[in-house]
Amino acid sequence: MAVPFYVSPDQIMQDKAEYARKGIAKGKSIVAMEYAGGLLLMAENPSVSLNKISEIYDRIAFAGVGKYSEFENLRKIGIRYADITGYASSRRDVTTKSLAKTYSDIIGTVFTRDPKPLEVEILVVEVGEEEAANQMYHVSFDGSISDRQQFSVIGGHSDRIVAYLQDHYAANLSLSEALLLSHRGVMAGYERPPEEASALEVGILDRERVGRKFYRMPPAEVAEAMAVAGDEVEAL
């Protein structure tokens, strides 16, 4: 019987992490940001139908980067989890914390057990009844989970975007200001900004909405809002 070569667990984990990181860095970034009236998620996405941002439940939204089929699968699991929980108990019992932990569990298990890790990073965000109650969870390819405030960036060259946003983020932004800032953040991710900006996919969790808070903003509305904010900034 052939004996397989010994490879240390350290090496295996390192290889897997490197593999996953490479896959994720190939894609474009997604920015999540708190604003006065809720939370927004913005992704550069040339496709109109293959979404990266989606509604999970009344107050909860999801965003994923990396391999589409993998985060799409995770998105559906999240929706099933939330709807089953809401059906069995009540709508209030569907919490972002338990959903994020479930995600962490699934992704972490695949990372340690399967030969190929998931090449995904996801954000699970919830708009609270007041601003202090907003929640943002970031789950990485190895299942590690962290919670964020103010803003969060996944995928692509997220380090550059985070650096830009740390310098420019302020509390209590209006929606249009937050959209403009997020877009500038996304652009800051490029070493050389592309000549033709790619289409933006934007979803917001609007605290003022009755019932389900998620709203997929049409591109025209996003462009208009950003133009308004741009004019205001220039007027100052």
Binding site: S54, I77, R80, D83, G86, Y87, I106, V110
Partner: protein
Amino acid sequence: MPLWSGSYEGSSFFDLLRHDFPHMLPLQHLPQIPAGESRLLEAVPCATTILALRFAEGVVMAGDRQATEGFEVSSRRIEKLYNADSHSVVAMAGVAGPCLDMAKLFQIEMEHYEKIEGAPLALEGKANRLAQMVKQNLPAAFQGLVVVPIFAGYDVHAEQGRIFKYDVTGGRYEEREFYATGSGGKEARSTLRKLYKDGLSRTEAIALALEALVDAADMDVGTSGPDLARGIYPLVKVVTLDGTADVNDEELCAVSERLLSVVKG
């Protein structure tokens, strides 16, 4: 990928439950009720008259507010109409418990599909999904736990209101003008048949819906009309291109007073 849930991959919440969580479906393991044992139906609340009619811009749906247990009133404020989603309403007549279960399941089914697929079902698709649920309830219906819904909504593709009625076997039939069912359904239908005409305005349609319920309450002990003394009015919903809206109590009060003053003479 180790799924948190089972192995179901589709976009239907109802099928997800059937496939992976059958214990969560309502009325799965019915004990056989002994023959001649009919006290069950006297001990559980039953919801009665519901109706729907088309008008120029969409559909109006209405239901009275009474639930009965045998010859007793079990509730004066029960609601038999539920918003299935932004552009459709489902009304339930029959045994209240299974009615509520089905309405809740149907609401989640609509929302679940929309979230998974990124777009809502077409109106006819929604009507067919409801038919499957009614069909699933057939074994319970044989034991007396009957659920008979009416489903109506605004079809954004056909640009008109549409009404679907069901039988206990899950048969689905489209009605072009109006329909009413429940214990006072026959009475309400005869009023609708006399007074319905094409292209009613919103106000006329609401008045006609209330009139049909007043007539049903007149002849059927299970149905209540507008209760002016307690300020309880039938639930009336209007569905148009703009979505679903409840008709407020002030408007219902004014119409009810006019209708009842005619009865007074």
